[in-house]
Protein backbone atom coordinates (compact mmCIF):
# COMPACT_ATOMS: atom_id res chain seq x y z
CA UNK A 1 0.00 0.00 0.00
CA UNK A 2 2.84 2.31 0.82
CA UNK A 3 4.38 1.55 -2.54
CA UNK A 4 1.10 2.39 -4.23
CA UNK A 5 1.00 5.72 -2.38
CA UNK A 6 4.53 6.52 -3.40
CA UNK A 7 3.75 5.86 -7.04
CA UNK A 8 0.68 8.13 -6.89
CA UNK A 9 2.83 10.85 -5.48
CA UNK A 10 5.31 10.36 -8.30
CA UNK A 11 2.48 10.50 -10.83
CA UNK A 12 1.32 13.81 -9.48
CA UNK A 13 4.82 15.14 -9.81
CA UNK A 14 5.08 13.89 -13.37
CA UNK A 15 1.72 15.38 -14.36
CA UNK A 16 2.71 18.64 -12.80
CA UNK A 17 5.87 18.66 -14.81
CA UNK A 18 4.23 17.63 -18.06
CA UNK A 19 1.81 20.51 -17.81
CA UNK A 20 2.87 22.73 -20.61
CA UNK A 21 4.63 25.96 -19.97
CA UNK A 22 3.04 28.88 -21.69
CA UNK A 23 4.48 29.38 -25.15
CA UNK A 24 4.28 32.64 -27.00
CA UNK A 25 2.60 32.03 -30.35
CA UNK A 26 2.28 35.10 -32.57
CA UNK A 27 2.16 37.22 -29.41
CA UNK A 28 -0.54 35.08 -27.81
CA UNK A 29 0.24 32.78 -24.89
CA UNK A 30 -0.70 29.18 -25.52
CA UNK A 31 -0.65 26.34 -22.99
CA UNK A 32 -2.02 22.88 -23.39
CA UNK A 33 -2.21 19.69 -21.41
CA UNK A 34 -2.86 16.33 -22.97
CA UNK A 35 -3.72 13.25 -20.89
CA UNK A 36 -5.32 11.54 -23.90
CA UNK A 37 -8.81 12.45 -22.77
CA UNK A 38 -11.59 11.37 -25.15
CA UNK A 39 -12.68 14.98 -25.63
CA UNK A 40 -10.75 18.18 -26.08
CA UNK A 41 -11.46 21.65 -24.86
CA UNK A 42 -10.07 25.01 -25.75
CA UNK A 43 -10.51 28.10 -23.60
CA UNK A 44 -9.66 31.57 -24.73
CA UNK A 45 -8.90 33.71 -21.70
CA UNK A 46 -9.03 37.46 -22.08
CA UNK A 47 -8.02 40.04 -19.51
CA UNK A 48 -11.45 41.63 -19.74
CA UNK A 49 -13.01 40.89 -16.38
CA UNK A 50 -15.16 43.32 -14.48
CA UNK A 51 -11.98 44.69 -12.90
CA UNK A 52 -10.96 46.34 -16.17
CA UNK A 53 -14.33 47.66 -17.20
CA UNK A 54 -14.70 51.27 -18.21
CA UNK A 55 -18.42 51.51 -17.51
CA UNK A 56 -20.47 49.51 -15.01
CA UNK A 57 -21.65 46.26 -16.55
CA UNK A 58 -19.79 46.49 -19.83
CA UNK A 59 -17.77 43.34 -19.06
CA UNK A 60 -20.99 41.44 -18.46
CA UNK A 61 -22.32 42.78 -21.77
CA UNK A 62 -19.19 41.61 -23.56
CA UNK A 63 -19.57 38.14 -22.04
CA UNK A 64 -23.15 37.96 -23.27
CA UNK A 65 -22.03 39.08 -26.72
CA UNK A 66 -19.91 35.94 -27.06
CA UNK A 67 -20.69 33.71 -30.05
CA UNK A 68 -22.74 36.37 -31.84
CA UNK A 69 -21.98 37.24 -35.42
CA UNK A 70 -18.42 37.70 -36.58
CA UNK A 71 -16.92 38.43 -39.97
CA UNK A 72 -16.63 34.67 -40.54
CA UNK A 73 -20.05 33.40 -39.49
CA UNK A 74 -23.35 34.62 -38.14
CA UNK A 75 -24.72 33.86 -34.68
CA UNK A 76 -27.03 31.15 -35.98
CA UNK A 77 -24.21 29.69 -38.07
CA UNK A 78 -22.01 29.49 -34.96
CA UNK A 79 -24.65 27.61 -33.01
CA UNK A 80 -25.85 25.30 -35.75
CA UNK A 81 -22.40 24.39 -36.98
CA UNK A 82 -21.08 23.60 -33.51
CA UNK A 83 -24.21 21.51 -32.92
CA UNK A 84 -23.36 19.53 -36.05
CA UNK A 85 -19.89 18.90 -34.63
CA UNK A 86 -21.42 18.02 -31.27
CA UNK A 87 -19.52 20.72 -29.38
CA UNK A 88 -20.50 22.75 -26.35
CA UNK A 89 -19.80 26.47 -26.21
CA UNK A 90 -19.77 28.52 -23.05
CA UNK A 91 -18.69 31.94 -21.86
CA UNK A 92 -18.01 32.90 -18.27
CA UNK A 93 -16.95 36.11 -16.63
CA UNK A 94 -14.70 36.49 -13.63
CA UNK A 95 -13.41 39.59 -11.93
CA UNK A 96 -10.18 39.41 -13.87
CA UNK A 97 -10.82 37.23 -16.88
CA UNK A 98 -13.37 36.57 -19.53
CA UNK A 99 -13.28 32.89 -20.55
CA UNK A 100 -14.71 31.60 -23.82
CA UNK A 101 -14.67 27.82 -23.94
CA UNK A 102 -15.49 25.10 -26.39
CA UNK A 103 -15.58 21.41 -25.62
CA UNK A 104 -15.57 19.02 -28.54
CA UNK A 105 -14.51 15.66 -29.87
CA UNK A 106 -10.88 15.09 -30.75
CA UNK A 107 -10.16 16.05 -34.33
CA UNK A 108 -12.59 18.96 -34.55
CA UNK A 109 -10.12 21.47 -33.18
CA UNK A 110 -9.57 23.46 -36.41
CA UNK A 111 -13.22 24.49 -36.46
CA UNK A 112 -13.56 25.31 -32.78
CA UNK A 113 -10.29 27.19 -32.44
CA UNK A 114 -11.33 29.22 -35.48
CA UNK A 115 -14.75 29.86 -33.93
CA UNK A 116 -13.30 31.09 -30.64
CA UNK A 117 -10.55 33.20 -32.12
CA UNK A 118 -12.78 34.79 -34.74
CA UNK A 119 -14.79 36.34 -31.90
CA UNK A 120 -11.57 37.88 -30.61
CA UNK A 121 -10.33 39.08 -33.97
CA UNK A 122 -13.47 39.97 -35.92
CA UNK A 123 -16.62 40.20 -33.80
CA UNK A 124 -19.16 42.52 -35.42
CA UNK A 125 -20.98 43.84 -32.32
CA UNK A 126 -24.10 44.79 -34.25
CA UNK A 127 -26.63 47.06 -32.65
CA UNK A 128 -29.62 44.85 -33.45
CA UNK A 129 -28.02 41.79 -31.82
CA UNK A 130 -27.30 43.86 -28.74
CA UNK A 131 -30.90 45.01 -28.52
CA UNK A 132 -32.55 41.75 -29.55
CA UNK A 133 -30.47 39.23 -27.57
CA UNK A 134 -27.73 40.67 -25.40
CA UNK A 135 -29.75 43.17 -23.37
CA UNK A 136 -32.11 40.41 -22.24
CA UNK A 137 -29.21 38.20 -21.19
CA UNK A 138 -27.66 41.04 -19.20
CA UNK A 139 -30.97 41.64 -17.46
CA UNK A 140 -31.40 37.94 -16.69
CA UNK A 141 -27.89 37.77 -15.22
CA UNK A 142 -28.56 40.76 -12.99
CA UNK A 143 -31.92 39.46 -11.85
CA UNK A 144 -30.56 35.99 -11.04
CA UNK A 145 -27.70 37.54 -9.07
CA UNK A 146 -30.02 39.75 -7.03
CA UNK A 147 -32.34 36.87 -6.17
CA UNK A 148 -29.51 34.64 -5.00
CA UNK A 149 -28.33 35.78 -1.54
CA UNK A 150 -24.97 34.02 -1.84
CA UNK A 151 -23.93 35.71 -5.06
CA UNK A 152 -25.35 39.03 -3.88
CA UNK A 153 -23.48 38.89 -0.57
CA UNK A 154 -20.18 38.01 -2.22
CA UNK A 155 -20.62 40.64 -4.93
CA UNK A 156 -21.32 43.36 -2.38
CA UNK A 157 -18.49 42.08 -0.18
CA UNK A 158 -16.09 42.66 -3.07
CA UNK A 159 -17.20 46.23 -3.51
CA UNK A 160 -16.82 46.89 0.22
CA UNK A 161 -13.47 45.16 0.39
CA UNK A 162 -11.78 46.54 -2.71
CA UNK A 163 -14.06 49.46 -3.77
CA UNK A 164 -12.80 50.05 -7.34
CA UNK A 165 -11.02 47.54 -9.56
CA UNK A 166 -11.72 44.13 -8.04
CA UNK A 167 -14.64 45.71 -6.22
CA UNK A 168 -16.59 46.26 -9.44
CA UNK A 169 -19.68 44.11 -9.71
CA UNK A 170 -19.76 41.15 -12.10
CA UNK A 171 -23.24 42.19 -13.13
CA UNK A 172 -24.70 45.23 -14.82
CA UNK A 173 -26.80 47.62 -12.74
CA UNK A 174 -30.54 46.95 -13.00
CA UNK A 175 -31.10 50.27 -14.79
CA UNK A 176 -28.08 50.82 -16.95
CA UNK A 177 -27.31 52.97 -19.94
CA UNK A 178 -25.11 50.47 -21.76
CA UNK A 179 -24.91 50.88 -25.51
CA UNK A 180 -23.32 48.77 -28.18
CA UNK A 181 -20.70 51.48 -28.66
CA UNK A 182 -19.55 50.99 -25.05
CA UNK A 183 -19.18 47.26 -25.62
CA UNK A 184 -17.32 47.81 -28.87
CA UNK A 185 -14.91 50.24 -27.27
CA UNK A 186 -14.27 47.91 -24.33
CA UNK A 187 -13.71 44.98 -26.68
CA UNK A 188 -11.29 46.86 -28.92
CA UNK A 189 -9.26 47.98 -25.92
CA UNK A 190 -9.10 44.54 -24.33
CA UNK A 191 -8.93 42.16 -27.32
CA UNK A 192 -5.26 42.77 -27.97
CA UNK A 193 -2.71 39.99 -28.33
CA UNK A 194 -1.00 40.70 -25.03
CA UNK A 195 -4.32 40.25 -23.23
CA UNK A 196 -5.19 36.87 -24.68
CA UNK A 197 -4.16 33.39 -23.59
CA UNK A 198 -5.35 30.14 -25.11
CA UNK A 199 -5.59 27.06 -22.88
CA UNK A 200 -6.20 23.61 -24.25
CA UNK A 201 -6.92 20.28 -22.63
CA UNK A 202 -6.80 17.01 -24.51
CA UNK A 203 -5.07 18.68 -27.41
CA UNK A 204 -1.47 18.71 -28.56
CA UNK A 205 0.51 21.82 -27.72
CA UNK A 206 1.97 21.97 -31.22
CA UNK A 207 -1.43 21.52 -32.91
CA UNK A 208 -2.97 24.22 -30.78
CA UNK A 209 -0.02 26.53 -31.33
CA UNK A 210 -0.18 26.22 -35.10
CA UNK A 211 -3.96 26.79 -35.12
CA UNK A 212 -3.64 29.84 -32.89
CA UNK A 213 -0.81 31.19 -34.99
CA UNK A 214 -2.91 30.90 -38.12
CA UNK A 215 -5.91 32.54 -36.44
CA UNK A 216 -3.99 35.51 -35.09
CA UNK A 217 -1.76 35.96 -38.15
CA UNK A 218 -3.86 38.82 -39.50
CA UNK A 219 -4.64 40.38 -36.12
CA UNK A 220 -3.05 43.73 -35.35
CA UNK A 221 0.24 43.33 -33.55
CA UNK A 222 -0.51 45.75 -30.71
CA UNK A 223 0.28 43.83 -27.58
CA UNK A 224 -0.73 46.26 -24.89
CA UNK A 225 -2.23 44.74 -21.80
CA UNK A 226 -5.08 46.01 -19.69
CA UNK A 227 -3.89 47.54 -16.48
CA UNK A 228 -5.48 48.97 -13.40
CA UNK A 229 -4.12 50.55 -10.29
CA UNK A 230 -2.99 48.04 -7.65
CA UNK A 231 -5.71 46.80 -5.32
CA UNK A 232 -5.94 47.94 -1.74
CA UNK A 233 -8.17 46.48 0.94
CA UNK A 234 -10.72 48.59 2.80
CA UNK A 235 -13.47 46.52 4.44
CA UNK A 236 -16.76 47.75 5.85
CA UNK A 237 -20.26 46.75 6.82
CA UNK A 238 -23.54 46.79 4.94
CA UNK A 239 -27.04 45.38 5.39
CA UNK A 240 -29.29 44.48 2.49
CA UNK A 241 -32.97 43.67 2.69
CA UNK A 242 -33.94 40.63 0.64
CA UNK A 243 -36.95 38.35 0.50
CA UNK A 244 -35.39 35.55 -1.49
CA UNK A 245 -33.55 32.53 -0.17
CA UNK A 246 -31.96 31.89 3.21
CA UNK A 247 -30.80 34.51 5.72
CA UNK A 248 -27.18 35.17 4.86
CA UNK A 249 -24.22 36.69 6.66
CA UNK A 250 -20.80 37.06 5.05
CA UNK A 251 -17.82 37.68 7.32
CA UNK A 252 -14.75 38.39 5.25
CA UNK A 253 -11.18 39.60 5.45
CA UNK A 254 -8.93 40.60 2.61
CA UNK A 255 -5.26 40.82 1.91
CA UNK A 256 -3.33 42.41 -0.88
CA UNK A 257 -0.37 40.93 -2.65
CA UNK A 258 -0.23 37.61 -4.46
CA UNK A 259 -2.29 34.81 -2.88
CA UNK A 260 -0.53 33.18 0.06
CA UNK A 261 -0.50 29.53 1.03
CA UNK A 262 -1.56 30.34 4.59
CA UNK A 263 -4.97 31.56 3.42
CA UNK A 264 -5.54 28.34 1.48
CA UNK A 265 -4.58 26.39 4.61
CA UNK A 266 -6.84 28.55 6.79
CA UNK A 267 -9.73 27.96 4.43
CA UNK A 268 -9.10 24.22 4.51
CA UNK A 269 -8.79 24.26 8.29
CA UNK A 270 -12.04 26.12 8.92
CA UNK A 271 -14.11 24.42 6.23
CA UNK A 272 -16.82 22.43 7.98
CA UNK A 273 -17.47 20.28 4.91
CA UNK A 274 -17.11 16.67 6.12
CA UNK A 275 -14.63 14.37 4.42
CA UNK A 276 -16.98 11.42 4.97
CA UNK A 277 -20.52 11.37 3.69
CA UNK A 278 -23.38 11.71 6.20
CA UNK A 279 -21.06 12.83 8.96
CA UNK A 280 -20.74 16.23 10.56
CA UNK A 281 -17.01 16.64 10.22
CA UNK A 282 -14.63 17.39 13.06
CA UNK A 283 -14.16 21.10 12.48
CA UNK A 284 -15.15 23.19 15.53
CA UNK A 285 -17.60 25.10 13.36
CA UNK A 286 -19.39 21.96 12.18
CA UNK A 287 -19.99 20.69 15.71
CA UNK A 288 -20.96 24.07 17.16
CA UNK A 289 -23.56 25.50 14.77
CA UNK A 290 -27.28 24.91 15.41
CA UNK A 291 -29.50 22.71 13.22
CA UNK A 292 -30.71 24.31 10.00
CA UNK A 293 -27.72 26.56 9.54
CA UNK A 294 -24.65 26.13 7.42
CA UNK A 295 -21.21 27.70 7.23
CA UNK A 296 -19.04 27.68 4.12
CA UNK A 297 -15.56 29.00 3.69
CA UNK A 298 -15.02 31.30 0.74
CA UNK A 299 -11.49 31.73 -0.50
CA UNK A 300 -11.10 33.83 -3.62
CA UNK A 301 -7.51 34.46 -4.71
CA UNK A 302 -6.82 37.10 -7.37
CA UNK A 303 -3.60 38.21 -8.97
CA UNK A 304 -2.82 40.96 -6.45
CA UNK A 305 -5.31 40.43 -3.63
CA UNK A 306 -7.41 37.74 -2.04
CA UNK A 307 -10.67 37.67 -0.16
CA UNK A 308 -11.26 35.08 2.51
CA UNK A 309 -14.54 34.72 4.33
CA UNK A 310 -17.15 32.65 6.02
CA UNK A 311 -20.62 32.50 4.55
CA UNK A 312 -23.19 31.76 7.25
CA UNK A 313 -26.68 30.81 6.08
CA UNK A 314 -29.82 29.60 7.79
CA UNK A 315 -33.58 29.74 7.67
CA UNK A 316 -33.94 31.99 10.73
CA UNK A 317 -32.05 35.11 11.77
CA UNK A 318 -31.62 33.76 15.33
CA UNK A 319 -29.99 30.57 14.06
CA UNK A 320 -27.68 32.54 11.79
CA UNK A 321 -26.65 34.70 14.77
CA UNK A 322 -25.70 31.61 16.80
CA UNK A 323 -23.82 30.07 13.89
CA UNK A 324 -22.07 33.37 13.20
CA UNK A 325 -20.82 33.53 16.79
CA UNK A 326 -19.41 30.02 16.49
CA UNK A 327 -17.76 30.83 13.17
CA UNK A 328 -16.13 34.01 14.47
CA UNK A 329 -14.91 32.15 17.54
CA UNK A 330 -13.33 29.45 15.38
CA UNK A 331 -11.70 32.10 13.21
CA UNK A 332 -10.20 33.82 16.25
CA UNK A 333 -9.07 30.54 17.75
CA UNK A 334 -7.15 29.67 14.60
CA UNK A 335 -5.40 33.04 14.74
CA UNK A 336 -4.19 32.46 18.26
CA UNK A 337 -2.36 29.32 17.22
CA UNK A 338 -2.94 25.92 15.76
CA UNK A 339 -1.83 22.50 16.93
CA UNK A 340 0.82 20.84 14.79
CA UNK A 341 -1.45 18.01 13.66
CA UNK A 342 -4.33 20.38 12.89
CA UNK A 343 -2.08 22.37 10.60
CA UNK A 344 -0.86 19.17 8.94
CA UNK A 345 -4.45 18.13 8.32
CA UNK A 346 -5.27 21.57 6.91
CA UNK A 347 -2.25 21.52 4.62
CA UNK A 348 -3.12 18.06 3.32
CA UNK A 349 -6.67 19.20 2.63
CA UNK A 350 -5.48 22.37 0.90
CA UNK A 351 -3.09 20.34 -1.24
CA UNK A 352 -5.86 17.98 -2.22
CA UNK A 353 -8.10 20.92 -3.07
CA UNK A 354 -5.40 22.45 -5.28
CA UNK A 355 -4.66 19.14 -6.99
CA UNK A 356 -8.27 18.14 -7.56
CA UNK A 357 -9.09 21.60 -8.87
CA UNK A 358 -6.65 21.00 -11.70
CA UNK A 359 -8.43 17.73 -12.48
CA UNK A 360 -11.41 19.33 -14.16
CA UNK A 361 -11.44 21.95 -16.86
CA UNK A 362 -13.01 24.81 -14.96
CA UNK A 363 -10.50 24.33 -12.17
CA UNK A 364 -7.60 24.27 -14.61
CA UNK A 365 -8.71 27.50 -16.22
CA UNK A 366 -9.34 29.20 -12.88
CA UNK A 367 -6.08 28.06 -11.34
CA UNK A 368 -3.85 28.65 -14.32
CA UNK A 369 -5.38 31.67 -15.99
CA UNK A 370 -3.81 34.23 -13.74
CA UNK A 371 -0.48 32.47 -13.74
CA UNK A 372 -0.34 32.21 -17.51
CA UNK A 373 -1.32 35.81 -18.17
CA UNK A 374 1.03 36.80 -15.38
CA UNK A 375 3.78 35.11 -17.36
CA UNK A 376 5.04 32.84 -14.58
CA UNK A 377 5.74 29.14 -14.87
CA UNK A 378 2.72 26.89 -14.48
CA UNK A 379 3.08 24.08 -11.96
CA UNK A 380 1.25 22.40 -9.16
CA UNK A 381 4.63 21.82 -7.54
CA UNK A 382 5.11 25.47 -6.67
CA UNK A 383 1.78 25.67 -4.85
CA UNK A 384 2.58 22.36 -3.07
CA UNK A 385 5.99 23.54 -1.92
CA UNK A 386 4.64 26.84 -0.61
CA UNK A 387 2.01 24.89 1.36
CA UNK A 388 4.71 22.54 2.68
CA UNK A 389 6.77 25.48 3.83
CA UNK A 390 4.04 26.54 6.28
CA UNK A 391 4.58 25.99 9.99
CA UNK A 392 2.48 26.90 13.00
CA UNK A 393 4.22 30.18 13.68
CA UNK A 394 4.04 31.51 10.10
CA UNK A 395 0.43 30.34 9.91
CA UNK A 396 -0.68 32.06 13.11
CA UNK A 397 1.25 35.19 12.19
CA UNK A 398 -0.41 35.39 8.77
CA UNK A 399 -3.85 34.64 10.24
CA UNK A 400 -3.63 37.18 13.04
CA UNK A 401 -2.46 39.89 10.65
CA UNK A 402 -5.41 38.98 8.42
CA UNK A 403 -7.84 39.33 11.33
CA UNK A 404 -6.26 42.61 12.39
CA UNK A 405 -7.63 44.27 9.25
CA UNK A 406 -11.11 45.74 9.18
CA UNK A 407 -13.68 43.03 8.50
CA UNK A 408 -15.95 43.03 5.45
CA UNK A 409 -19.37 42.29 6.86
CA UNK A 410 -22.43 41.81 4.66
CA UNK A 411 -25.93 40.85 5.72
CA UNK A 412 -28.53 39.78 3.15
CA UNK A 413 -32.06 38.90 4.20
CA UNK A 414 -34.09 40.23 7.10
CA UNK A 415 -31.86 43.23 7.75
CA UNK A 416 -33.68 44.19 10.97
CA UNK A 417 -33.24 40.85 12.70
CA UNK A 418 -29.86 39.69 11.44
CA UNK A 419 -26.89 40.40 13.75
CA UNK A 420 -24.53 43.37 13.51
CA UNK A 421 -20.80 42.76 13.28
CA UNK A 422 -20.09 43.66 16.91
CA UNK A 423 -22.80 41.25 18.09
CA UNK A 424 -20.80 38.38 16.62
CA UNK A 425 -17.63 39.49 18.41
CA UNK A 426 -15.84 41.04 15.45
Amino acid sequence: MLAARASTARNIQRIARSFATAVDTAGVKVASVNYNQPTSSVTVLVKAGSRFETKDGVANALKNFAFKSTAKRSAIGTVRESELYGGVLSASLGREYLALSAEFLRGDEPFFVDLLTSFITSAKFTRHEFEEYVLRLIEADTEAAVENPTSRAIDVAHSLAFRSGLGKSLFAPAHNSLTVADVKAFASSSFTKGNVAVLGTGIDQSTLSSLVEKAFASAPSASTTSSTSPTSYFGGETRLQSHHGPQTVFIGFGTTGSPSASLAALSAHLSPAPSVKWSKGISSIATGIPEGTSVQTVYLPYSDASLFGLLVQGSTAAGVKEAGKVAVQALKASASGLKEEDLKRAIAKAKFNAASASDNREGLVAALGSKILGGSDVTLESSFSSLDALNTSTFSKATSSLLASKPTYVVVGDAHALPFADELGL
Binding site: I76, R80, H128
Partner: protein
Protein backbone atom coordinates in the same frame (compact mmCIF):
# COMPACT_ATOMS: atom_id res chain seq x y z
CA UNK B 1 -45.66 38.87 -51.75
CA UNK B 2 -44.32 36.97 -54.67
CA UNK B 3 -40.74 38.26 -54.66
CA UNK B 4 -40.39 39.06 -50.96
CA UNK B 5 -40.96 42.37 -49.25
CA UNK B 6 -38.69 44.32 -51.58
CA UNK B 7 -40.38 43.16 -54.82
CA UNK B 8 -38.25 42.84 -57.95
CA UNK B 9 -35.86 45.40 -59.28
CA UNK B 10 -33.77 45.70 -62.42
CA UNK B 11 -31.67 48.45 -60.90
CA UNK B 12 -28.51 46.31 -60.40
CA UNK B 13 -28.55 45.29 -64.06
CA UNK B 14 -29.09 48.89 -65.19
CA UNK B 15 -26.35 50.15 -62.91
CA UNK B 16 -23.86 47.66 -64.30
CA UNK B 17 -24.10 49.24 -67.78
CA UNK B 18 -22.83 52.78 -68.01
CA UNK B 19 -24.70 53.76 -71.17
CA UNK B 20 -27.96 52.34 -69.87
CA UNK B 21 -27.50 54.15 -66.58
CA UNK B 22 -26.94 57.44 -68.42
CA UNK B 23 -30.15 56.97 -70.41
CA UNK B 24 -32.36 55.68 -67.65
CA UNK B 25 -31.37 57.99 -64.77
CA UNK B 26 -33.28 61.08 -66.00
CA UNK B 27 -36.37 58.97 -66.70
CA UNK B 28 -36.12 57.37 -63.25
CA UNK B 29 -35.79 60.77 -61.58
CA UNK B 30 -38.76 62.10 -63.53
CA UNK B 31 -40.80 59.05 -62.58
CA UNK B 32 -39.94 59.33 -58.88
CA UNK B 33 -40.99 62.97 -58.86
CA UNK B 34 -44.11 62.33 -60.92
CA UNK B 35 -45.33 59.57 -58.59
CA UNK B 36 -45.94 62.34 -56.08
CA UNK B 37 -44.92 60.79 -52.78
CA UNK B 38 -42.26 63.44 -52.29
CA UNK B 39 -44.96 66.10 -52.34
CA UNK B 40 -46.37 64.50 -49.20
CA UNK B 41 -42.99 64.52 -47.45
CA UNK B 42 -42.38 60.79 -47.85
CA UNK B 43 -39.17 58.92 -48.51
CA UNK B 44 -39.45 55.96 -50.87
CA UNK B 45 -38.88 53.46 -48.04
CA UNK B 46 -41.89 54.88 -46.16
CA UNK B 47 -44.05 53.30 -48.90
CA UNK B 48 -42.57 49.82 -48.41
CA UNK B 49 -45.33 47.38 -47.48
CA UNK B 50 -44.72 46.84 -43.80
CA UNK B 51 -47.35 44.16 -43.11
CA UNK B 52 -44.94 41.24 -43.04
CA UNK B 53 -42.55 39.88 -40.43
CA UNK B 54 -39.33 40.74 -42.27
CA UNK B 55 -40.12 44.44 -42.57
CA UNK B 56 -41.46 44.53 -39.01
CA UNK B 57 -38.16 43.16 -37.78
CA UNK B 58 -36.26 45.63 -39.97
CA UNK B 59 -38.34 48.50 -38.54
CA UNK B 60 -37.37 47.43 -35.03
CA UNK B 61 -33.73 47.84 -36.01
CA UNK B 62 -34.01 51.51 -36.95
CA UNK B 63 -32.24 53.93 -34.65
CA UNK B 64 -34.62 55.80 -32.32
CA UNK B 65 -34.07 58.93 -34.42
CA UNK B 66 -34.92 57.19 -37.69
CA UNK B 67 -38.02 55.62 -36.18
CA UNK B 68 -39.19 58.98 -34.83
CA UNK B 69 -38.67 60.73 -38.15
CA UNK B 70 -40.54 57.98 -39.98
CA UNK B 71 -43.52 58.25 -37.65
CA UNK B 72 -43.48 62.03 -38.07
CA UNK B 73 -43.51 61.77 -41.87
CA UNK B 74 -46.41 59.29 -41.76
CA UNK B 75 -48.45 61.56 -39.49
CA UNK B 76 -47.73 64.67 -41.51
CA UNK B 77 -48.75 62.90 -44.71
CA UNK B 78 -51.98 61.60 -43.12
CA UNK B 79 -52.87 65.14 -42.14
CA UNK B 80 -52.14 66.34 -45.68
CA UNK B 81 -54.32 63.57 -47.02
CA UNK B 82 -57.19 64.65 -44.79
CA UNK B 83 -56.82 68.20 -46.13
CA UNK B 84 -56.86 66.82 -49.72
CA UNK B 85 -53.77 68.86 -50.58
CA UNK B 86 -50.05 68.23 -50.84
CA UNK B 87 -47.72 69.88 -48.36
CA UNK B 88 -46.36 73.34 -48.99
CA UNK B 89 -43.44 73.29 -51.36
CA UNK B 90 -40.69 73.87 -48.79
CA UNK B 91 -41.83 70.72 -46.94
CA UNK B 92 -41.46 68.45 -50.00
CA UNK B 93 -38.89 65.72 -49.71
CA UNK B 94 -35.70 66.74 -51.49
CA UNK B 95 -34.35 64.05 -53.88
CA UNK B 96 -31.02 64.25 -52.02
CA UNK B 97 -32.75 63.28 -48.76
CA UNK B 98 -34.78 60.48 -50.32
CA UNK B 99 -32.45 57.68 -49.25
CA UNK B 100 -33.15 54.00 -48.67
CA UNK B 101 -32.87 53.99 -44.89
CA UNK B 102 -34.92 50.81 -44.41
CA UNK B 103 -33.81 48.65 -47.33
CA UNK B 104 -30.40 47.62 -45.89
CA UNK B 105 -32.13 46.34 -42.75
CA UNK B 106 -34.71 44.41 -44.79
CA UNK B 107 -31.96 42.86 -46.90
CA UNK B 108 -30.11 41.89 -43.72
CA UNK B 109 -33.22 40.27 -42.22
CA UNK B 110 -33.92 38.38 -45.43
CA UNK B 111 -30.37 37.11 -45.47
CA UNK B 112 -30.74 35.88 -41.90
CA UNK B 113 -34.00 34.13 -42.74
CA UNK B 114 -32.40 32.48 -45.75
CA UNK B 115 -29.51 31.30 -43.59
CA UNK B 116 -31.88 29.92 -40.98
CA UNK B 117 -33.74 28.06 -43.70
CA UNK B 118 -30.46 26.73 -45.05
CA UNK B 119 -29.42 25.40 -41.61
CA UNK B 120 -32.89 23.93 -41.04
CA UNK B 121 -32.73 21.90 -44.22
CA UNK B 122 -29.01 21.29 -44.59
CA UNK B 123 -27.86 17.79 -45.52
CA UNK B 124 -24.74 16.79 -43.62
CA UNK B 125 -22.07 14.58 -45.12
CA UNK B 126 -19.08 13.16 -43.24
CA UNK B 127 -15.95 13.72 -45.21
Amino acid sequence: MLFGPLSTSLAPQVKSSRTLLKWITPIANWYANASGYRKYGFKYDDLLCEENPEVQRALSRLTPREAYDRAYRLKRASQASILHAPLSKEQWMQPSEDIRYLKPHVVEVMKEEAERKMWDTVAVERK
